[in-house]
Every structure is written in C-alpha cells, then in structure tokens.
Assembly symmetry: C2
Homo-oligomer: 505 residues x 2
C-alpha cells in the first residue's frame, strides 16, 4: 500500500509508524503488528493505529524518518510482515519449555535492536521472573548479553573488578576499593551505574570528582595508563540489553534472578575480567533479607562466573544500616575523600572497603590468603590509595588537587530532632533513601542525608537524628515534610503516632 508520509517529529524509542485504522484494516494489520517500509532500503516497523492520521497517510516517528533518509520520502510503500521469531521463543518460555542458545541469542538481539514492543518485552521479563531459567539458559543469556554489545580487550592480564548488587544506602566503597586495587598494580576498569531508585550510584559519586561518560576505548586507555577507572556504564555500549530490560522491569518492580545474574557477569565478562569480587549487602531492608538467600545467590554467581571463565568470590556484608554516615552524592564523596586523606571516618566504611579490596588482592595472589585486608589497609593508610585516586581523577579529566573540604553539601539544611531520650532501636534504609531523593538526590549533587545517629546509638531529646541537605529550598521543605511524616528511625520510648479525637469543624 502506497501512503503519504507525515513525519511525526516524536521519538518512539523504536521503529514505529501510525496508520489510519481503515488503512490498517485494508492492509490486514493491527496495532503491534509489523510492516516493511519499502523505500531505498527495507525497514521493519511496528504499527500503531490512530484516527489523527488521515486515510492514505502514514505517521512516521523520528527514528524511522532518520533511517529513511534525512528528508523523509513523500510516499512509501508498506507491506505486512511477520513477527520476529523471538516472540514464539517467549511463548515457548511461557509454556515452561527450555530455550536453546540460538533462541536466547535471538531474543536478546531483538531487544538490543529495539525490535520488540513494550508488550513483548514485558511478557519476557514477567515470564523470566515467574519461571526462571536453567543454569545453561542463564549462561547463554550472559553470553548473548556480552556478544550483542561492545567488548574491551586488554593486552595485559589479569583484569580485576568489583560489583555490588546494591540495596544499601551510602555504599561509596568503590571510591576506596578501586584506588586501593590500582595502587597495587592491578588493572580495574570499573563501570558503574547511576541511581535509578537509590540516592546515589557509584557513577553519580564519581561524577562529583570527574567526568564519567567515557567510551569503551577511553576506559581501556585510562585503565592501562593509571590502573583504574570509575566510569558510567550507561555511556558505553557494554551489555546494552541490560538497560533495555530494566526499562521493562522497573515499572513492574521486578528483578528476575536470571537477569540479575546475567547482567552482573555479562558486564564483567565484556571488559575481560579474570577476578571479580561481588558485594552482597544482606539484612532487613536490602535486596537479600536472609543469609541463606545471600549464600544461594553467591553460589549462583560463582557458578556462572566459572562457566564464563571468570573467578568470582562474594562477600556478604551488613546492609541493614547505611555504610558510613552520609547518603547523597556530594556528602558521600566528601566522607570517602576524608577517609583517603586522613583515615578519619566511619568504621563501617573503612572496614568494608578494605575487606572487599583485600579479597580481590588475595584472589589474584598479590596478598596471601588471610592477609589481603592488611595490605588494603596499608595501601589506604600510606596514602598510596589517595595518590592513585588523584591519578584516576586526572586521567578522567577532573581536578586532582581537590580535597574533601572543597566539596560542599547543599546550602539549604534542616534537622530532624529526636522527640525523646533513648537508643535508636530501628532504622529504615528505604526511608533514608526516600528523604534523600525528596531533597534532590541524585540529580542535585549537594542534596542528601547526614545520619547523626545510627542504630544502637544513644540520643538525647532535641538532638538531631538526621541532617538534610538540599540545593533547592522547596526540595528541603519536601524532604523535611517527608521525614516528619514518617521517621526513618525509632528511638526507644518515642510516640509513634498521636491519635486525637476528630476536630469539630
């Protein structure tokens, strides 16, 4: 069918067109079906239908227009075409049948190429969540995620890496672990993420110190030159399927085990990692509520690593309380830098960072078993880690002379005071994150929450429990309101809710 092009000047995220319902009927296609656009080249597009497109016209979204050439042709010829075979493979999964390696590759390739609609993507992640995948399937999924993206091939090995599955606020340890490792002459090309539902991801933190939007080539070059890098993975094309899957998982608040495993190992496999330590924050309010679940996840990660030729070790860490006392980009970086500069700072941060770094040092054989943490602590104490971080900052294009006092928290500040004397007996990670986000984290880098009193600590009536920082006045107000509405911690003896008779109007 020959139709007149109406460029829509809207991005659809996919190759999409809009047909008048009558033309769609005439063509025998429905919303979600595929058509081929015959022009100079052949292009498959997903159909929407809508009255706003006149009969005889075709609405063409931005991506399609761009593929058709700088100036959209005036008339294109459209013919129906079949669905990608991926959809029958997803159906096969729904029917609880195992997939072959080729079938999984095909699904992941279609996801990366934006060939699947939201409905099809959602069916895939929902089915993955419900039925899970076998160990073979997860291996193939991991390989497919690696092979459908960019890879970094280092000339020198070993390559080491570190990952945290997240779920604990204030987890700024990569700012310490990466320089400790690199200072011991190992290569650690760390890619990291920005916060999606959290208050600050590692990429948000490093972004305070230096540009993090590095290409795969830049990551390779900087790692080879100074030993380490802390880049934002989203700026590369490494394992791109992961981000696209997250777009479908996020609205459903699900994280299928198969994808959790595959995405971690794929990102490490794609940078050629030989040794990887994985931080599994465990405890109430984290992604892993119990030690048993942590052990199961660790075993799965280790086994998947083996299948890919990557040596993986996992560390279950205490996740029920934040790491250190800060949550939010600037104040977290300030806390981490101060530790690097002065060894002054929260024990939870120093212990966790050197613990994780120590495991890596032992895995590679730089330290003997049982002595990794010692070496990590020594690297930190001697100032070698700080020197290394400055080299990394400079290599990424930041200012290496920055010190922790240069980093200013947001200018608007407010406190949440304890209503009574007593011990902090309950602490709610999720509320801390919500308050930090209400204050503007991670987009406003000065925004965040300083935790004055952690679980188990004694507080006097009227003393601050938390201090909230914000770059904007109205966001401080929002965050304070949020904190006062539901306290992020409970002080023993505190009245939780005061219920009065209804006021007479």
């Amino acid at each position: 069918m020959e139709l007149k092009v109406q460029p829509l000047r809207i991005k659809a995220g996919k190759y999409k067109i809009v047909l008048n319902p009558e033309d769609a009927k005439e063509l025998g296609v429905r919303s979600g079906d595929r058509v081929q656009l015959k022009d100079h080249s052949y292009l498959t597009a997903i159909v929407e239908t809508g009255d706003m497109i006149a009969k005889g016209d075709v609405g063409v979204y931005q991506e399609c227009c761009e593929r058709l050439g700088k100036v959209c042709p005036l008339v294109i010829n459209i013919v129906p075409t079949s669905k990608p075979s991926s959809i029958s493979f997803i159906k096969k999964m729904m029917d609880n049948q195992k997939l072959t390696q080729e079938e999984i590759y095909q699904i992941i390739q279609d996801i990366v190429r934006e060939n699947l609609t939201d409905i099809e993507m959602a069916a895939f992640v929902t089915t993955s969540y419900i039925h899970g995948m076998s160990a073979d399937e997860i291996e193939w999924l991991t390989r497919a995620m690696i092979d459908t993206g960019e890879k970094i091939e280092f000339d020198t090995h070993p390559i080491v890496d570190k990952h945290s599955i997240g779920g604990v606020p204030g987890n700024k340890i990569s700012l310490l672990v990466v320089p400790i490792i690199a200072a011991n002459d190992l290569l650690i090309p760390k890619t990291s993420s920005r916060a999606i539902t959290g208050a600050a991801g590692t990429a948000d933190l490093m972004g305070v110190l230096a540009p993090v939007e590095l290409s795969a080539d830049e990551i390779k070059y900087i790692t080879e030159r100074v030993g380490g890098v802390i880049a934002w993975g989203g700026a590369t094309n490494i394992a791109p399927a992961d981000d696209k899957l997250i777009r479908s998982e996020y609205p459903l608040s699900i994280d299928p085990r198969s994808q959790l495993l595959a995405s971690i190992i794929a990102k490490k496999g794609a940078v050629g990692a030989d040794y990887v330590v994985i931080d599994l924050p465990t405890g109430i309010g984290t992604k892993i509520p119990t030690a048993d679940e942590g052990k199961r996840l660790a075993r799965d990660l280790i086994e998947l690593g083996e299948r890919l030729g990557i040596s993986v070790e996992c560390a279950m860490t205490y996740g029920a309380s934040p790491v250190g006392r800060t949550v939010g980009p600037a104040i977290e970086v300030r806390e981490a830098l101060k530790v690097l500069e002065t060894m002054q700072g929260p024990n939870s941060l120093i212990e966790k960072s050197t613990g994780l770094a120590g495991i890596l040092l032992e895995m590679v054989g730089v330290a003997t078993r049982g002595h990794g943490k010692e070496l990590a602590m020594e690297t930190l104490r001697s100032g070698k880690a700080l020197t290394k971080l400055k080299e990394i900052i400079e290599a990424q294009g930041g200012n290496p002379n920055i010190t922790h006092t240069d980093i200013k928290p947001g200018e608007y500040r407010g406190e949440l005071l304890s209503p009574v004397d007593g011990y902090v007996i309950e602490f709610d990670n999720k509320r801390i994150v919500e308050i930090a986000r209400a204050a503007g984290s991670p987009i406003d880098i000065g925004a965040g929450v300083w935790i004055n009193k952690k679980k188990g600590e004694l507080v006097k009536k009227g003393e601050p429990l938390i201090t909230i920082f914000a770059d904007k006045d109205w966001k401080l107000t929002n965050a304070l309101k949020s904190a006062e509405k539901e306290y992020p911690m409970i002080v023993e003896g505190m009245v939780l809710e005061h219920i009065r008779p209804l006021q007479v109007l």
Copy 2:
C-alpha cells in the same frame, strides 16, 4: 513543577504526557511513572520521556488535552504520584498468591479506565496465562468485567443466548439459530464480534444484512419488540475490559483460560441471560484439539455459569472442516439465507444450527428433552425462522425483502484446480482463512472462499478445489498466489512439492 503545554495532537489510547529527560530527572520520575496534572481538575497521566520536548515544556497527548478542556491551558503544574495499587496486585499474582475479590475488581477497573501501561497489561495477561486463576478468582474476574461495563436489564425473562468460542471457518450458524429461537417466542439479545484473525465474525455477517452498531438500549428495545437481535458487541460498552485485554493478548498470541471463561460468561451475564448454549468446535486446527480438552472447558463454563446464576450447556461440534461451503462475509450470508429460504444447502450448516437451537429450546422447556432439534428443524422448514430474520433485519434498519440471490460475491474470481484424480484426504482450516483474508475478508465483504471439495470428497484432475472471490483485482492475485504456494487441502496422490536440480545461471 510548572511546564508549558505543547499539545501533541496524537492519540495515545491512555492519559499520557511527554517530559524532557532533564525535567523528568528533576521531578524524580521515569518513563512509565505517573504524575498528577494540577489544573482545574486533577488528572493522573503516565509519563514518557523524549528529547523532542524542550526543557520546561510538556508534550500532552490528545486524550489528556481533551480532559484538560477544549483549549489546552498554557501552563500546567505537574507533581509525581504513586502507581495504581493494581500493580502490586499483579506482582502478587506473579508470586503465585491468590487475589481477593477487591483486588481483582481494582485491576479490571484500572484496565477499563486505561490506567495501566502496555507493560503492566502485558504482565497481567502473561501471569494469567502462566499461573491461571482459581475458580473463585475467575468468578470475581467475571463479576468485575460485568460491573465495570454497561448492563441490559430486561423486564421479561427468561433471556437466552448462544455463543461460539470460534476456531472453525464458515460458522454462520447464528444467522439461523437466532431467528429459530426468536420465532419460538424467546428473547435472544445476541451480541457478537467482528473477525480479528478469522475471515468473518457473526457481526461481519449480519453487517451485510443490516446495521450492527447498536447501543445497549437499542439491543434491549429491538429484542423486546421482535425477540432477537444480532449486534456488534464492540459498539456497546458491555464488558469493555475484554477488548482491552485482547489488545495485549493478541500480540503475544495467548488466550489465558481465566479470561476466555470470564469474557464469555461476562458478556452473557451483562445482558441478563438465563440460559446459554455454547458451541465448542473441536478437532485438529481448532482451538480445542481433543475431546478431553473440550469436556474440561465445558465443565469450567458450566461451573462458572452456575456461580453467576446462568444455566449453561455446551455442544462439542466438529470443527476440523468448515461449516457449510463458504468462508467470507457475503458468500456466507448468501449460503445461510438460501437455507432459510429453501432448506437447500449443506447438511453441516443445517444440522449444526438446528442442533444448537434445539439444545436451547430444551433448556428453556419449550421443547421436551430429546425433541429440541425437531422443533428447531420445523421452525426452519416452516419458514417461521426466515420471517423472524426479516423482522430482525428490519428492526435493525436493514432491508427485509433481501433474498439470497441479491447478495453478490466479489466480481474477481479465481479457481484452485486439483492436480490429480483422488479423494480430499487432508483439509487445513487455517489455510482457508489465510486465503480468504488475502482475498480481502472480512473488510471487503465480497471476498471469500467457496469450498468446492470438502474432506472425503472425490475430485477429478482439473476440477476446482476452491473458488476465490475478491472485490479487488490485486487481492485476488495475492490470494491465488497464497493458495498455490501451499494448498489448503491434499488430494490423495498429489505431489506435494517438486524438487528440481538447481538451475544453472
């Protein structure tokens, strides 16, 4: 956040807006999240993000613009808001927990109100497909489907109805069943569907004789006046959730059992039916491949009917071969009318129609058990059914004087000839439908396939197996090509494929 409105003049099917990615970050929302639009009224909309919307602007889709008033306000205030609780109920289903009646109602209400995104809808139908639902849940689903739509309340009872789950081509029996029943002084307010993947639905057939886009009030009025109606359900707001669910199921080619059951019974419940006969075409190439599955489905339908106070009986019918010899709107109507006028026509059509009508007559007690078919046959033979159909046609606004010879098949015709002498030993329903659709069915009413030779019949070499009709020349060519590429039937002894040495170029 105050944003300047850019009306997009595009329908999204839902209340949707587009934000610049930076504004979205600032607001702390992502694609798929919800915001409230504060204006004269409050309105919840789903967020998309896109670069084509400038910072400080908000792209507003058609439906939202319309809700905001005839002229979109220049500036609107947007605040993030939480997801509908339905999403946590869908998550609960994924985790294989049972839902309460209120939770199911909430999901269906959000579906009807277009509050769920494609991703959320797909998660619901995928989970329904994988986990299924308990009998209680299916009952609540059915009640929710009824209660979220329009209902017809008749003053006189009983109300009877007939439904076919489809899957067999040429199933024009409603054109006979409805007038037979109404001629026996029963009320049968039949709503029906248009073909989605088939060649002609009952609504497509009746559309050849009279308007079928009737409102619920018109359906009630006509039924009370002449005893029966054959309307298109899509023009009413009866059980509207069903159509919206189908939009998510169709791209995945799934039909969850819970929805199949609920949608049939909900549509009958909504018109107040007391007695319903359900046709279950069974056999290779239908929706029910084996008799065991047919019996299971029948039991489920009967049980669900009981829960809703509807007396249901099911008829498993032979579905491996078309009903009658015609597939496609005009030629099917012509075949059915000819039977009504002359009792001349295929046995499969006469037997099935009177069989189904007979069951209904027995259920209500108009005929004693074992004598319903006799009465139905008599109603047909006496011409009472034809008279009644003419009354129905006239009441719906059609021409009651129409006879079968007035109905012309498409003017372009082609034949598929038998390559050998022999018996038709295999017959492929799906291919017949594909050929009819390629010829233009159901949108071109003259298009269709006349089946010259059915399964078991003897054919001579060179005799036509099927005759294809089309309203358009190019569609006839397409249909013939499709038929020749893969024959819809196999004549014993026929060469299925001729493989020659590759031609030397």
